[in-house]
Amino acid sequence: MRNEQSAIIVRGLTKRFAPGLLPALDAVDIDVPAGSIHGVLGLSGAGKSTLLRCVARLETPDSGEIIVAGSDWTHLSAAALRRERGKMGIVFQHLHLLSSRTVAANIALPLEINGMPRTAVAQRVTELLEWFGIADKAKEYPARLSGGQQQRVALARALATNPRVLLADEPTSALDPETRASVLNTLRSIREQFGVTILIITHDMHSAAAICDTLTVLDAGRVAESGPACELLEHPSTEITRRLLAHTGWPQSSSPPRPLSRQTHFEEIGQP
């Protein structure tokens, strides 16, 4: 029965950064079934980052609900939220490892914060280091590692508390094709090994197509369309999805893509 539950539910999520401005998110609904990999796609400025920040509760939404592994994260007190945070691991685009801590100590940090006894922490860290194939780097500082190794450290840290949900922010952007493939493989095996539900936020249609079970396409803060990845990719029903597909050269069955409007082009180069 557990697998049929939703790991993340977003209902009517609205976020406006200033009164009078267009909302960054406008009544967004997303439902991520437990054990699946869900992708949130969109061009820059579509609201992907705001969505991530709201789901991670770095922002408080104006209205709507965020339910993570069965508990309502929208109305928690700061202290209660801190205790809940072990249920969600996040890998940030810029990884954000602590330069002052060794690899092992970085992975241990969320466990320390959760008050796990020292010996249990050491054991869990060893497990993770071995699973991610970085046991020989345990005593190194992150700055001495390659980009791929650093990302594995970030993944290990995100999964340390055995979260129910893993959020990945642009995990494959700024990677060469080979590393990208290896990261996608790692994410797939993570789902198997850790039994975790994965929400990927990306503009990289290729990666989304390769790994996601279901997709949500965001456009100007609204859900443009949403559904199983294969359906969405084969029969995109909205202009924005066709455009996203066109960018990646995905084979098209429907009408040819329109050229980008100036507005969109500007947004893209304006927000790297």
């Binding site: 809940e84 072990g86 602590l98 320390e112």
Partner: protein
């Protein structure tokens, strides 16, 4: 120049007094500065737990004592100094205004060093469920050790400067010697020698600070 030797013992003594004043004052300034500076950083708008009111009160406190010229601060603090150490003359008495004058300065330096930590990193730590106190201890302070060492180097050098002023109003040390023997008794050689020792001291501290900061940098 040969007359310098007759000043030998007192010159040596003055150097020791300066070192004593500076090291004890820096020690306390670092402790109080870390406490006050961490509070300032955590509660600042860019901090992990912004608290406008608290931040403004702390900032006002830091600014008021920094805006009073040090020489005047020494005089203002005379009754307090007498209450604390029993006398207002001597090296121990000079340490009181040095600590009180130096702490807000140290706090501002600490605040700036801590806020140099990438805000994105702090947000990542929030998603790990870190509390503000834990963030100071496990993230802000360790991540900014090189910056803190550089800040305390600047602090120590400023303290040498301040100690000369404190010396001139009865605290002893190189500043005292330079004024009383060098200036008031027209002993240019004493004045020059005091300056040379102070310059060497500052160079040494700066060199040591740079070296330490580089050693602790893991980035």
């Amino acid at each position: 120049m040969s007359n310098l030797f007759e000043l030998g013992p007192s010159f040596f003594e003055a150097t020791l007094q300066t070192l004593e004043m500076v090291s004890v004052a820096v020690f306390f300034c670092v402790i109080f500065g870390l406490l006050l500076g961490s509070w300032l950083a955590v509660t600042s708008p860019q901090g992990i737990a912004p608290a406008r009111g608290v931040h403004q009160v702390l900032a006002a406190f830091a600014n008021i004592s920094r805006s009073i010229p040090f020489l005047i601060l020494i005089v203002l603090l005379l009754p307090f100094t007498r209450f604390l150490v029993g006398t207002s003359i001597g090296t121990a008495a000079a340490i009181v205004p040095l600590v009180i004058g130096g702490t807000p300065y140290a706090a501002r330096l600490v605040e700036a060093a801590l806020l140099d930590v990438d805000p994105g990193l702090i947000q990542a730590m929030i998603t790990l469920g870190i509390s503000p106190a834990e963030a100071v201890w496990k993230v802000y302070l360790p991540e900014s050790i090189p910056g803190l060492i550089r800040a305390f180097t600047v602090l120590a050098i400023t303290m040498i400067n301040f100690s000369a002023m404190a010396g001139a109003v009865g605290g002893g040390g190189l500043g005292d010697l330079a004024i009383r023997y060098g200036y008031q008794r027209f002993r240019l050689d004493v004045l020059a020698l005091c300056c040379v020792v102070l310059i060497l001291l500052v160079q040494l501290i700066q060199f040591a600070g740079n070296h330490l900061a580089r050693n602790f940098d893991r980035r």
